[in-house]
Amino acid sequence: MNNLVIMPIVIPLVSGMLMIFIRERILWQRWISLISVAASAACAGWLIRLNQTQGVQTLHVGGWKAPFGITLVADMLASLLVFTALIVSFACLLYMFGSIGREHERFFLYPLVQILVCGVNGSFLTGDIFNLFVFFEVMLIASYVLLGLGGKRRQLKETLQYVLINMTSSTLFVTALAFLYSAAGTLNMAHLAERMAEAGQSGPMTVISILLLIVFSVKAALLLFFWLPGSYSAPPAAIAAMFAALLTKVGVYAVLRVFTLIFPHQPQITHTALIWMGAATMILGAFGVVAYKSIRPILAYNVIISVGFMLFGVGVASQAALTGTVYYLVHDMIAKALIFILGGAMISIAGTDRLQDIKGLIHYRPLLGWLFFVAGLALAGIPPLSGFVGKVLILEGGIREEQMAVAVIGLVSSLFVLYSMMKIFVQGFWGETFLSEGEQHDTGKSALLPGVMLTALTVGMGLGAEWVLSMADLAVEPMLDRDVYIRAVLRTE
């Protein structure tokens, strides 16, 4: 029992609710947002430390012992992801301050961001699968409003589509949980894992797991990604950066958790499906990055490629691949936020996101150009940047488990990522500038501080890979030996 576990959920929730009452005091809201995110990050950092020294931390909410109450479980995976999510939110908040404009700020932007963060942290920390559904909804409803905020025709249209798709998949989620509860008699993930290990994963259970896989595929944009490019292009760049960094990753986390803890017993069905869905996602994503000639769709399809790659790692499910996936998940949150922030700055300077109308930005804002260059290399996985280590481990795992074909697809897709990043870099930054002094729509300065911060993180993660990998190893431990997780939840005190 450790009350610290609930802090990354409670702090954003309370500060979000507080800020609703001080709607007109924007400066206060900015400070409260930053402090709340920083304080939660400190708690998450402390949780990581506790995981290293004492093992998995749990909290039985309300004193109801598992499996009767809801348990919050901060194992290394959850703590690490919560910590990264908070760091990324901090950077996105910094970018919001300078880029998003008064109108958004007056209409509950910061409270919504806090609720979104609360939902994301809750999804990572919960140890109860129905509670996972609830935190998904908390996160999603905040994202619906953030997406629609501003009320332009395009935004409304995309929001409508996004809400309908997510409502349908949430309905499926509840359906799957109903089946799961009637078949297994529990919804606590550790308890489910224990029962599944004892009774074996029967046919109906595998069907339920496939139903869950479909649900999470919609949320994580694995194969069922058709909603993503539109809805990630519609909102302002700072909000899109938060979406790209956090929302799909929660889906990936859900797949990772459920298919390593509860349903790992029929890999020839579920994990094969995961691997090939990942492969198809990477291929279709690669088509997307080649086909488009505007910044936002290209970046959105990059999100899709990396989701496919991570789910390939989950499907392979050997130790190397899982460690790589955890590492890559952390890397991808940082890198995606970074690239969306920098892309957003390019669009705001040039006033358009069509690549043919952007040129020579490097003369105007050299630092932005070089940050973009480094970020592009990190996304493609060039050493010594952070993407490299994760990719190596996932591919190593894939090749050892004789998934050559998909490993090759993964490698080729990285080439496409590199190509698309360089396409934006060369077209956008090189050449003679169209813009004369004073013609640019925005200075783009607001992206520099969060950009430098996140770039430093990707470089640091690449150079300090040893240190991050030791944490990723700890995170993978409960996946390989499920008893670690089960004991921590069901057998403490």
Partner: protein, 112 residues
């Protein structure tokens, strides 16, 4: 009784799916509402309806009804209720801005 509920839920599922496949926004929203009702009914039915006494300690009887499905259903109802309210407002707003409630006409033509 369970069988009856399951059949009702199946009927609701099919009507919901049919409505979701139509082109008018309002019908699609009603479709999602029906789908969620169907799910809630099914959630209650598959876990067994009334198997024993009220789940209070020291109440008469040794078999208790499981209260959890009802708690789950209640949570889910609250969420869907909020979402349906939200999406109705959103659809109305979209109708005002774009002047149509036909999902096909909403699609193309968004060159800013």
């Amino acid at each position: 009784m369970e069988t009856f509920m399951i059949i009702i839920s199946g009927v609701l599922y099919s009507i919901g799916t049919y409505l979701m496949l139509s082109k008018t926004l309002l019908r699609i929203i009603l479709g999602t509402a029906l789908l969620s009702h169907a799910t809630h009914l099914m959630l209650l039915a598959v876990s067994g309806l009334k198997k024993g006494a009220v789940p209070l300690i020291a109440a008469t009887g040794t078999k208790y009804t499981d209260p959890l499905p009802q708690a789950l259903m209640l949570t889910s109802i609250v969420i869907t209720f909020a979402l349906t309210a939200f999406i109705l407002v959103l659809a109305y707003r979209t109708y005002l801005v774009s002047g149509t409630d036909d999902i096909n006409k909403l699609k193309g033509s968004d060159h800013e």
